[in-house]
């Protein structure tokens, strides 16, 4: 056997094993239980269209609000961390280490229940709004480190070239450094965006009204209401409907920009 034949045999064997495993799983599955518990027609129909108009809509809204504000805070933190002034660096480091070390769930709890008690202040959007503030401060810490790494990855010569043309520091940062830094961090930022989509499920701990539910709360509520697990499969599918296009879109953006480089 030459090398090509050996490779074909090996690949064929792998496919055979994979197929056997799938067939085996299908054989041992209790399809009747699956159908009654996860594919219950009346339950699926009862969730429509609220699963999209309320649950998906809220998941996306909470994600976008959290991401935009977290990105803005992260940008400030990243520049503080790169500041020549030690006070700024120290403050940014303290913030980042503090919030990176806490589970998002705990921060959401604190924002929704401890902060209003301590300061007699509830953010816009009530408890859900407070929970979103929790997501923002947590994700700002993650994204700040990512952005700092991206800014530092831009070659030093880029800033020097802009300065030698007489461009001031702020304009150099905006038009020369940041566009390149953000391009560098698009892959890790995508990971953080997808993680954020999924972490909006933590907001349920603050308690939600019917029109505030995102996918996970919607799934849990309906599972209880209908005493059937179909909503769990439904929300899993809709999470993928939200996350897959985002990761695909960003992959496409990345390829397009790679070509421009």
């Amino acid at each position: 056997m030459n090398r090509t034949q050996r490779r074909r045999v090996r690949d064929g064997a792998l496919y055979a094993v994979l197929t056997l495993a799938l067939v085996g799983a299908a054989v041992v599955t209790d399809w009747e239980a699956v159908t009654t518990n996860f594919l219950d027609g009346p339950t699926w129909r009862a969730m429509w269209p609220e699963i999209v108009t309320v649950a998906v809509w809220n998941t996306v809204t909470y994600t976008v609000i959290s991401f935009v504000f977290a990105f803005a805070v992260a940008l400030v933190l990243a520049f503080m961390k790169l500041s020549p002034l030690a006070v700024y660096r120290w403050l940014a480091t303290a913030y980042i280490e503090f919030f990176r070390g806490l589970p998002a769930l705990v921060v959401i709890f604190f924002m929704a229940f401890a902060v209003p008690l301590a300061f007699h202040w509830i953010p816009p959007g009530g408890l859900v709004g407070a929970g979103i503030v929790g997501l923002i401060v947590t994700y700002a810490a993650y994204m700040a480190e990512t952005l700092r790494a991206g800014i530092q990855a831009v070659p030093k010569g880029q800033r020097e070239a802009a300065q030698s043309l007489g461009m001031n520091g702020a304009w150099t940062t905006v038009s020369v450094i940041l566009p390149q830094a953000i391009r560098i961090v698009i892959p890790p930022l995508t990971n953080e965006l997808v993680a954020l989509i999924k972490d909006t499920s933590l907001l349920f701990v603050v308690g939600m009204q019917a029109d505030q539910v995102e996918l996970s709360a919607f799934g849990q509520n309906n599972t209880v209401t209908f005493a059937n697990a179909s909503p769990l499969l439904a929300i899993a599918l809709f999470y993928l409907v939200v996350t897959l296009p985002m990761t695909r879109l960003v992959a496409w953006l990345e390829r397009r920009q790679q070509r421009a480089r």
């Binding site: 070659p155 043309l165 007489g166 461009m167 390149q180």
Partner: protein, 251 residues
């Protein structure tokens, strides 16, 4: 901010007793140096001699430790001076080109014109196209830097600096990162610039260029200027042992 108008009759570049430390390491040990308007001065020397540091001090990309640097009579180390305005009159070309990779060639040439010179888009584009034609790359205005050869990128970088209509140009080893067959195009552009009367300070390893184009040649070693004078004299009859040793290796 103090005035940034160039002083009449002042030298283009005047460096007095310049010292520069990196930590405890002294890279410039008291350098006196000048370039007159319209002159081409080439600086040669072994790596680590401080020649690039000297050049980078002239537009304060390096912070001098002590000494004075006057550009067209303006003390650029004066904390009151509008450094960006002074820099905008000093074109700089880097060894690694340093084009902005996320901008097209035309945008590379226009961004500082628009922002610093406050030119209209039409005027900036017109000046950019003139300069691209000057460096022989008129057909590349929509290309991105990554799609150009090193020699083309360096010529774009020269055109970018020229688009600011600077009073002088600094070249920091402009051909050192290029494949040998691409060096000639860049040197040809620089030669034309010199012929047109541009004031130039050129840190280089191109002895042929220094001999033909330079009005003055400076040899640096160990953070000091060892020898300077007419390029033909210095290159043919070096007086100092260190100059002789260096030239015997590179010529």
């Amino acid at each position: 901010m103090t005035t940034v108008e160039p002083e009449r009759g002042a030298r283009a570049i005047e460096v007095r007793d310049l010292h520069k430390y990196y930590g405890s390491h002294e890279v410039l040990k008291g350098v006196d140096f000048h370039v007159d308007a319209g002159q081409v001065v080439c600086v040669i020397g072994p790596s680590g001699s401080g020649k690039s540091t000297l050049l980078r001090c002239v537009n304060r990309l390096e912070e001098p430790t002590s000494g004075r640097i006057l550009v067209e009579g303006i003390d650029i180390c004066d904390p009151e001076v509008d450094l960006a305005a002074v820099r905008s009159r000093i074109g700089m070309v880097f060894q690694q080109f340093n084009l902005f990779p996320h901008m097209s060639v035309l945008k590379n040439l226009c961004v500082a014109q628009r922002r610093v010179r406050k030119r209209s888009q039409d005027e900036a584009v017109r000046i950019a196209r003139d300069n691209l034609a000057k460096v022989g790359l008129a057909d590349k205005e929509n290309a991105y830097p990554a799609h150009l050869s090193g020699g083309q990128q360096q010529r774009v970088a020269i055109a970018r600096a020229l688009s600011m209509e600077p009073d002088m140009m600094l070249f920091d080893e402009p051909t050192s990162a290029l494949d040998p067959e691409l060096v000639g195009d860049v040197l040809a552009v620089m030669r034309t610039l010199a012929t047109d009367g541009m004031t130039m300070m050129v840190v280089t390893h191109e002895m042929g260029f220094a001999r033909e184009v330079g009005d003055n040649l400076v040899f640096m070693d160990g953070g000091v200027i060892v020898e300077e004078g007419d390029p033909v004299d210095v290159l043919s009859h070096p007086r100092h042992a260190r100059t002789q040793a260096f030239l015997s290796k590179v010529l």
